[in-house]
């Protein structure tokens, strides 16, 4: 591996690192804000987590979560933050596609696209 490739690898690695950190920080901020709104009703008895009921549909789909967030509801905002968190590694993979394109590495553009495709498939709910 030539040193030019190593240098561009290094630059790419640095951007990747910053991307990850930013994504996590943004997600944490949104979750925190959502948490504050949610805890505003802190006098309510806590949900019984011992019995599994599953979340209501508006907290399970991307459109539902966006709707709840725009209505400034705590739980919706938290789910939005979680979505941002899950999207962070996905964004990292997407960025890698461009990085490999820039390096002219066609094999790895393909591999990365496959992973990206699988991730998007899962984000859309998979087949469950």
């Amino acid at each position: 591996m030539g040193s030019a490739l190593q240098q561009s690898d290094q630059r790419i690695d640095e951007i990747l690192g910053r991307l990850l950190r930013t994504g996590v920080a943004l997600a944490a901020l949104v979750v925190f804000v959502g948490g504050a709104v949610y805890l505003n009703r802190h006098y309510l008895p806590v949900t019984n987590y011992h019995v599994f009921q599953g979340e209501p549909p508006e907290l399970r789909t991307i459109s539902g979560i966006l709707r709840e967030s725009l209505a400034f509801r705590g739980r919706g905002l938290i789910q939005l933050g979680l979505l941002i968190l899950i999207a962070t590694p996905v964004a990292r993979v997407a960025f890698s596609v461009f990085a490999f394109l820039y390096q002219g590495d066609r094999k790895y553009v393909l591999f990365t696209l496959v992973v990206l495709g699988l991730l998007v498939f899962s984000l859309l709910g998979g087949c469950g």
């Binding site: 949610y38 399970r60 979680l82 962070t88 094999k107 699988l118 469950g128």
Partner: protein, 278 residues
């Protein structure tokens, strides 16, 4: 107990878990699930959903640092992520049909292995066996920084590594863990990567694997915001604190103590699974 009190307790537990997890390298999911199910009595499905979230949070934060230092092998990670992602999707799909008690027992077993692997940190002595045809075709050979400059290494055992990574991904999707231990095992022993490259590349991959499963669990309604909020924030804060302390900490002793605790938790989880309490 009202929501605020519950949030505070769970947050404190998550903080401790994140702190100890980052110091000992025993990860988030492995601690969060027993903590929530055994201590807080949370149904294991909620626990796994939330654990996946905390795994993404902590590993993305840590991976950022490792990548910067130049240890992780991005090509190895990217290629193997095909295997881990498919594995995660399969694992998540299977989890839907497994009885909760079976998941609990499986979790306990993996927990025991993780604790054992953590104590027996026995890195494979790095002997350079020369270039491998598949690895060369995939341009995986690389270098890592040492005090004496960049040290190059060859990658081997790609098919076996790929197969093991599928297993790691399946475990992740099934149990809500990062499967870091299995990943490191695959890269260290099967693919003959230098140990530090294995651990950092594994950290780099964990977030992607967990994200694959997390998306499915979220849409299935397994991720509860009221529970995820204190856990995610607590674990993040804890692991940030742990990273600060890492340089001065007596990691060996901590790891031993932590592994013993994990071992007991594992036994309790298996017991609860067998007696149908979970």
């Amino acid at each position: 107990m009202n929501t605020l009190e519950f949030t505070a307790f769970v947050g404190a537990g998550a903080l401790l878990a994140g702190f100890l997890g980052s110091l000992t390298g025993l990860g988030g999911g492995v601690v969060i699930v027993p903590l929530l199910t055994l201590v807080f009595g949370v149904d294991i499905r909620y626990a796994i959903g939330v654990a996946l979230i905390s795994v993404i949070a902590t590993s993305s934060g840590a991976a950022a640092a490792y990548v910067r230092e130049g240890y992780s092998n991005v090509r190895v990670a990217m290629f193997l992520e095909i295997a881990t992602t498919v594995g995660a999707l399969v694992g998540a799909a299977v989890a839907l049909h497994l009885r909760v008690s079976v998941i609990a027992i499986l979790f306990g077993l993996v927990l025991i292995y993780s604790a054992y692997a953590s104590i027996r940190q026995n890195p494979y002595p790095t002997e350079d066996l020369g270039p491998d045809r598949i690895a060369s075709w995939l341009r995986m050979d690389s270098t890592y920084p040492t005090p004496n400059g960049l040290q190059s290494y060859h990658v081997r055992g790609v098919p076996l590594g790929f197969g093991l990574m599928f297993g790691a991904g399946a475990l992740s999707g099934l149990l809500g863990i990062g499967s870091g231990a299995v990943k490191v095992l695959a890269m260290d022993k099967a693919m003959k990567l230098p140990f530090k490259v294995s651990t950092t590349t594994s950290n780099f991959m964990i977030g992607v694997t967990a994200a694959a499963s997390a998306g499915i669990y979220l849409s299935r309604g397994y991720v509860d915001p009221g529970l995820a909020m204190p856990v995610m924030l607590g674990v993040l804060a804890g692991s940030l604190a742990g990273a600060r302390v890492l340089a001065v900490a007596q990691v060996r002793v901590l790891r031993l103590v932590f592994s013993i605790v994990i071992g007991f938790l594992a036994i309790e989880m298996i017991y609860n699974g067998l007696t149908g309490k979970l």
